[in-house]
């Protein structure tokens, strides 16, 4: 430890930085989560649509269900930042 003394500005700045980091993590990780979840559903959905075109509406619905996770992440990020 060279100099452990932190000025008030440094504390504030690191708070802002950590908030930004948190916001980034919130969107990024939820994005990965949604992607992983949609991966399986999406490929099954394409297969099902190829078999029966009428299923399109239903499979679209199923495919986008995990998207909500990102929206949650986004809301959390925005609440952190603003």
């Amino acid at each position: 430890m060279a100099d452990a003394v932190m000025t008030l500005e440094m504390v504030e700045a690191s708070q802002v930085g950590l908030k930004a980091l948190g916001a980034g993590l919130a969107v990024g990780l939820t994005g990965i989560g949604a992607g992983v979840a949609e991966m399986g559903i999406g490929s099954a959905a394409v297969g099902a649509t190829a078999e029966n075109k009428d299923l399109f509406g239903l499979v679209l619905l199923l495919t986008v269900i995990p998207e909500t996770i990102v929206i949650f992440g986004l809301v959390v990020a925005l609440l952190l930042l603003f």
């Binding site: 009428d54 399109f56 509406g57 679209l60 619905l61 986008v64 269900i65 998207e67 909500t68 929206i71 949650f72 986004l74 809301v75 925005l78 930042l81 603003f82």
Partner: protein
């Protein structure tokens, strides 16, 4: 409004000799949706059989196949072809007998000629391929074959081979493969072969040609050019025939298709030896007209009656009934599923709300104008019905984008000369922005309000749907459950408002406290929440696990802001990179190199904006429609109605 066209169930019965006039009249009117008779002991239809096609159906079908074959070679699509004049049906019969075989013969000959030429070209190309390796060999090809005492090997080897017997060899190393030609005595053939095989010899056949390979190739090339010339002539002839006869062919197609449809109609009727019965649907407004015209055409020898509709047993076909501006949106509905007959048809709501969502997301005057121009300009190229409908949806969305662009004060990401009327979306990209920057919390709350209202409307429609479709205790429970969902959502909201003051939302924190430090609003909210959960549980206890979706669905509308902001951010970044970082520094002190850099900057600007517009269309369109399909429709809409598909056809190339 909000309901499909009203249908009536008709039963038409007559003697078999009246079948033809009845079918002809039904076809001409084009409003009767035939319900196919299924030969499976239907009650009241014992002894009936599926009818036989009228005479001539088979012959016409085979004619149709021929015509469709020609249409295929010409790559004609009746959907996109615009006829100049319509042919009268009275003339069609004559034309089909006389002119059609001539055209057919002509096309057959031309196509035959073309495929012959193609085969010849292919053969010549193969010969050239065979000759190509021998261009390096310095002797004529006739010297490489036809020996009685010698044997000739030609082919590629991995490396040059030492052959320990008297022979002559020619070796030409190259990248593609080392060519080797060996002439050796016939009796030593096996030995030479083995040695060559050790060197990974791949034999090639020696073309049966005279003289050196290179001039032969040139000769063949000239021949190919000649064949290609001939092919071009045939192609222009085909093009000519296509130009002159497309319309006629499509008219024949249409005319014969109509004949076939009419002749095959009895396959969908119930018949006895002497009579036939046809059941089906017509729009209620057409019932009188069609009954009158049928009895007129048959001289009163037909029995037409309206049957009572039992919704449980018969599902009437569904025909949309919407004001003109909402019609293109029917396409978006059909992608999901056509509404059932008894269900509310939400097309009108989608037609209003979809463009608003799209505009809210994209909201940029510049992009809106480009989209509007695209949707109007592309109309010439999109001739199919679906394409036109899609363009109209895009047009509505573009108009909304323009309006929102003005409200947001955005023009390709730049600010217009007035302050935004809606909360600003101008982010501080590159730290160069002026003013307060984007008002993100306000936008977030607006989108959540939109979500609350949209979902509330969905639930109310759900209540109406259940009230109309269900019966008995199930009906009450379903209605209460929908009410329960509404109460949980609003109860939750009231509870939140009474605890935290939120901008742009009612502030209920100052309400008088009643008990346990809770104010009256919290209490009301809590009671609504609990009652709501009870109502939901009464219909189906398992549904309780779905309650968190209330939050997720409302928050899902935040995408309206999120997707929009991302496109604003991309526009701002593109502008900043292109103008702020590339163009402006050069303009201060313009040099010849600077001009090139400025042009490069403009290129970056244009490509970036075009990409962003594409992303905006995809993002704006997909997310808006997704909010409808997932968040809105799941509250009330089932779909699964049959398309109203009346017997008859839209005539494009022929007329009476």
């Amino acid at each position: 409004m909000l309901a499909p066209r009203e249908m009536s169930r008709l039963l038409i019965a007559a003697q078999k000799d009246q079948m033809e006039p009845v079918i002809a009249e039904l076809f001409r009117r084009g409003v009767f949706h035939i319900e196919d008779f299924v030969d499976q002991g239907k009650e009241g239809f014992e002894g009936f059989k599926i009818g036989m096609p009228l005479p001539g159906a088979g012959e016409q079908s085979s004619k149709l196949i021929k015509i469709r074959g020609i249409e295929n070679t010409f790559m004609l699509d009746p959907g996109v072809f615009e006829p100049k004049v319509k042919v009268e049906t009275s003339r069609m019969k004559d034309l089909i007998e006389k002119e059609l075989p001539v055209v057919e013969q002509m096309v057959e000959d031309l196509v035959g000629d073309r495929s012959k030429l193609e085969a010849r070209k292919k053969g010549l190309e193969d010969k050239i391929e065979e000759l190509r390796p021998f261009t390096a060999v310095p002797i004529g090809l006739d010297l490489l074959q036809g020996y009685r005492t010698q044997t000739v090997f030609a082919g590629f080897v991995a490396r040059n081979a030492e052959i320990p017997i008297p022979h002559e060899t020619y070796f030409q190393p190259s990248k593609e493969g080392n060519l080797i030609v060996v002439v050796a005595p016939l009796e030593q053939r096996e030995k030479v072969e083995r040695i060559l095989l050790d060197a990974e010899f791949r034999p090639i056949s020696i073309p049966k040609e005279q003289g050196a390979a290179a001039p032969r190739i040139d000769e063949y090339r000239a021949e190919i050019a000649d064949v290609e010339q001939q092919m071009k002539t045939v192609d222009t002839r085909i093009e000519e025939v296509k130009l002159n006869h497309s319309e006629f062919l499509l008219a024949c197609d249409e005319f014969i298709s109509a004949q076939v449809k009419k002749n095959e109609a009895p396959l969908r009727f119930a018949t006895t030896n002497l009579a036939f019965v046809a059941e089906g649907w017509v729009p209620s407004s057409e019932v009188k007209e069609i009954s009158d015209s049928l009895s007129e055409k048959t001289g009163g020898k037909v029995f037409v009656t309206e049957l009572p509709i039992d919704i449980k047993e018969h599902a009437p076909p569904v025909e949309y009934q919407n004001p003109n501006f909402a019609k293109p949106t029917q396409m978006l509905m059909d992608i999901y599923s056509r509404p059932r007959y008894t269900e509310l048809d939400p097309t009108l709501l989608v037609a209003i709300v979809f463009p608003i969502f799209f505009g809210f997301i994209l909201g940029d005057l510049g992009y809106g104008l480009i989209l509007l121009a695209l949707s109007l300009g592309l109309r010439k190229f999109f001739k199919g019905e679906e394409g036109v409908m899609l363009l109209k949806v895009l047009r509505n969305a573009a108009i909304s984008t323009i309006i929102f662009g003005i409200l947001y004060s955005e023009f390709f990401g730049f600010e217009l000369p007035w302050p935004p009327i809606l909360p600003s979306r101008h982010l501080n990209i590159g730290g160069e922005g002026e003013g307060a920057g984007a008002a993100i919390p306000e936008l977030l709350i607006i989108t959540i309000w939109i979500g609350i209202f949209h979902i509330t409307v969905g639930r109310i429609l759900g209540i109406i749907n259940h009230a109309r479709q269900d019966h008995g205790s199930h009906r009450t429970k379903a209605i209460l459950a929908n009410l329960g969902w509404l109460m949980v959502m609003w109860g939750l909201l009231i509870a939140i408002w009474s605890a935290f003051p939120i901008p742009y939302m009612p502030n209920l924190t100052s309400f008088p406290t009643v008990a346990f430090g809770l104010n009256i609003a919290t209490l009301i909210g809590g009671i609504m929440l609990i009652l709501g959960i009870l109502f939901i549980a009464m219909e189906n206890t398992l549904e309780i696990v779905e309650i968190p979706t209330i939050v997720s669905h409302v928050l899902s509308y935040a995408r309206l802001m999120a997707v929009g902001l991302s496109s604003v951010a991309i526009a701002l970044v593109v502008n900043f990179i292109a103008i702020g970082m590339i163009i402006e520094p050069q303009l201060e002190n313009l040099t010849p190199v600077g001009v090139v850099i400025v042009i490069f900057g403009i290129l970056v600007l244009v490509i970036g904006q075009v990409l962003n517009l594409l992303l905006g269309i995809i993002g704006g369109g997909l997310h808006s429609i997704r909010l409808h399909y997932v968040e809105f429709f799941t509250k009330f809409y089932k779909g699964g109605g049959d398309k109203y598909n009346p017997f008859g056809m839209k005539r494009k190339f022929t007329e009476d």
